[in-house]
């Protein structure tokens, strides 16, 4: 998928802001800098434990701005609605968007609605775009990642992925796992206020922290070492992963941030994360071992070391 995107879109639209393939583009405009991002939401089912497509559409775009170190200001939204879509469900989705935007301190300032004939869309699709001012506090790009820097995650991984799987009725058992879907700009502002040691952040959505860490290793040519035993995973998420053969590091999150932090500041950032409602289970999960090798290694629970790969293809359950 990534190579397809690079070949089709990045090569054809090529420009400096796009080519970095970051979560948001950074634009310079008469001496001021803006962060700009867009995302479309097609989640199935539309409503799931811990959220719905509307909440997701606000969180996803707010988070893409926040992890760049920007302050999210305003969102646009576009709805593509299948004819005959349940009005009550639509109201729940819109109310969730309004509530989430309020909680995140952003406004939804412009929008568009299209209705297509039955069968031409699957219920509802939502696009949101967002702009923010950059930087919120300091320019992350001016802080080079070096060997020894710590890797932090703001809480348990894989909750969203398993919650969606459960809500789809794909599991033959019930779980109480809820999506972690949440706007991260508050938590991120807290850590940036308390520490000037944050160097890089991403929200590990599709592809999980495996995708984010492999991208990080690729972008800066880093050798990263992650300790599996330090990775926060809920017991019930871990249990589902055991049963179905998933790696929690491959599962999607919608309310977590992965950060690279200067080693001397790591404990302080960890403490700040843990003091925030959304970061209670934050952990230091590894470090930058070396520069120049472009590799993510995992020290497994039992002490062996292996490579962590970007997840490829659909996640499929094991059959025996």
């Amino acid at each position: 998928m990534r190579s397809f995107i690079k070949k089709l879109f990045v090569e054809n639209f090529s420009n400096a802001a796009l080519n970095s393939m970051a979560d948001a583009a950074l634009l310079e405009f008469s001496g001021k800098q803006l962060a700009f991002t867009t995302d479309s939401y097609v989640v199935k089912p539309l409503e799931f434990p811990g959220g719905n497509i509307g909440k997701l559409a606000v969180c996803g775009t707010v988070n893409d701005l926040a992890v760049m170190g920007a302050k999210p200001l305003a969102l646009s939204t576009g709805f593509i609605i299948e004819e005959g879509f349940n009005i009550a469900a639509l109201e729940r989705i819109v109310l969730a968007m309004a509530e989430t935007a309020r909680a995140a301190g952003v406004q939804i300032v412009t929008g568009d609605t299209k209705v297509v004939a039955r069968g031409e869309a699957d219920g509802i699709f939502i696009n949101t775009s967002g702009v923010g001012v950059y930087p919120l506090l300091y320019d992350l790009r001016e802080k080079p990642v070096v060997a020894g820097d710590a890797l932090l995650v703001s809480g348990t991984v894989g909750d969203h992925g398993i919650a969606i799987l459960g809500a789809r009725g794909n599991l033959s058992f019930k779980t109480s796992i809820r999506s972690d879907c949440a706007p991260l700009n508050g938590l991120i502002a807290d850590i940036l206020i308390h520490s000037s040691g944050v160097k890089w952040m991403r929200d590990p959505t599709r592809g999980g922290i495996a995708a984010v860490l492999t991208e990080l290793a690729e972008e800066f040519k880093l050798d990263l070492l992650v300790r599996e035993k330090d990775l926060p995973v809920r017991e019930n998420v871990r249990a589902v992963c055991e049963l179905l053969g998933f790696d929690p590091m491959h599962l999607a999150n919608e309310g977590k941030v992965v950060a690279v932090v200067e080693s001397a500041e790591a404990e302080k950032v960890l403490k700040t994360m843990r003091a925030h409602e959304l970061g209670k289970e934050a952990a230091i999960i590894g470090h930058v071992a070396a520069i120049g090798t472009e590799l993510v290694r995992v020290e497994t629970e039992v002490g062996g070391v292996r490579r962590l790969q970007r997840p490829a293809g659909e996640l499929l359950p094991r059959i025996c």
């Binding site: 062996g304 490829a312 025996c320």
Partner: protein, 365 residues
């Protein structure tokens, strides 16, 4: 899950690793496992990294998807093109390449192909959709075969007439006999599949030390289980012994699960079976008994395209332990989990996919 924690203790694993190292075997030791669950666990926990350099772990024909021959996928695709037929399959099989297409391709072209987690779920779906003929694709070894047998027995008992099974179910003992007798195969010890043995009993494998003088350990699936099994095999090798030792005593009994064996014997009979990489192995498959032929999808007449392999694909050599996945010229280039050419790259239990996802690396010293 907390129940696993004791079996994943880094201290226990380290102690066993030290015992293996202290045996100080001088010769190269090639240990083969024949279970996809073992393949996945070995690479996921990076166990090769904890072993002496001369102790090598090989993956044999233990991943059900990997040993499924192209002609089975081709037949399933051909069936999916008959109007009124729904193909019910385990998820792993969806992306396995057939001779020219996969089930995923057939689904994109309009075939009604649905993923189920168990044969029982597929039977339930058939009950609720009586206007469709539901063909369940039965792949797997004894572990899965007994569950398919139970579902089939239930379909017969409750007279669900729109449910069929296309069987490519396989049995492990005859396959191991064929493997160990094949030219070029070098195995110094076998890690026997714990869950297959739970069904068959460990005594089904007694012929291996007797006929081939190869040490065997029935193994569980946790890191400490596998390390202990490796220790058992290394000890036998050191002492010049060859016998079946049962490391997985908490699950496996020497005579197996009588109920599971009974339902398999009731519904299936041994038959010759085509294996990817091995060709036809006599009496290594399970065919549906003739009195249940109304439920046998093999009886649906359909034109199947002539079988062919992807040029250069060496899954067969990988499955025999002759070739390490990274030695295949297609590995990571023409063949990757995103675009698999051979079955070993599809399932998370396939040797190539396991090595691709979890490839061992030099640890930090």
């Amino acid at each position: 899950m907390k129940v696993f924690d004791d079996f994943r203790s880094a201290d226990v694993v380290k102690r066993v690793a030290e015992k293996i190292a202290r045996l100080d075997l001088k010769q190269p030791v090639r240990l083969m496992e024949v279970c996809g669950g073992h393949t996945a666990a070995i690479y996921r926990f990076a166990l090769p990294d904890l072993l002496p350099a001369n102790v090598k772990l090989l993956s044999g024909p233990g991943c059900p998807v990997c040993v499924t021959a192209n002609d089975f996928v081709d037949r399933a695709i051909a069936l999916s093109e008959i109007s009124g037929i729904t193909i019910a399959t385990f998820g792993d099989l969806i992306r396995v390449p057939g001779s020219t297409r996969s089930l995923a391709d057939a689904r994109a072209q309009g075939g009604d192909i649905r993923v189920f987690y168990s044969s029982a779920d597929a039977l339930d779906w058939a009950r609720q959709n009586s206007e469709r003929i539901v063909v369940f694709l039965g792949i797997g070894f004894e572990t899965t075969a007994c569950t398919v047998a139970a579902t089939l027995a239930e379909a017969v008992r409750t007279n669900v007439r729109n449910f069929r099974v296309l069987s490519s179910l396989k049995t492990m003992p005859e396959a191991l006999r064929a493997l160990l007798g094949a030219p070029g195969v070098q195995v110094d010890g076998l890690i026997l599949p714990g869950h297959v043995c739970a069904v068959t009993g460990s005594n089904e494998f007694d012929f291996i030390p007797r006929e081939f003088h190869i040490p065997c350990a029935v193994s569980g699936f946790e890191p400490s289980d596998l390390m202990e099994s490796i220790l058992i095999l290394c000890r036998q090798i050191k002492d010049g012994e060859a016998k079946v030792e049962n490391q997985y005593r908490r699950v496996v009994h020497w005579e197996g699960n009588a109920r599971a064996k009974a339902v398999m014997a009731e519904m299936f009979e041994p038959a010759d079976m085509l294996w990817r990489g091995f060709g036809r192995i006599p009496q290594s498959g399970l065919a549906i008994r003739t009195q249940f032929s109304d439920w046998n999808a093999a009886n649906i007449s359909v034109d199947v395209e002539p079988m062919r392999e992807y040029p250069g694909c060496r899954c067969g050599d990988v499955l025999r332990g002759i070739l390490h996945p990274t030695e295949c010229p297609l590995f990571g280039k023409a063949c990757s989990p995103e675009n698999p050419r051979g079955a070993c790259m599809v399932s998370t239990e396939g040797a190539c996919a396991a090595v691709y996802h979890f490839s061992p690396v030099q640890r930090e010293r």
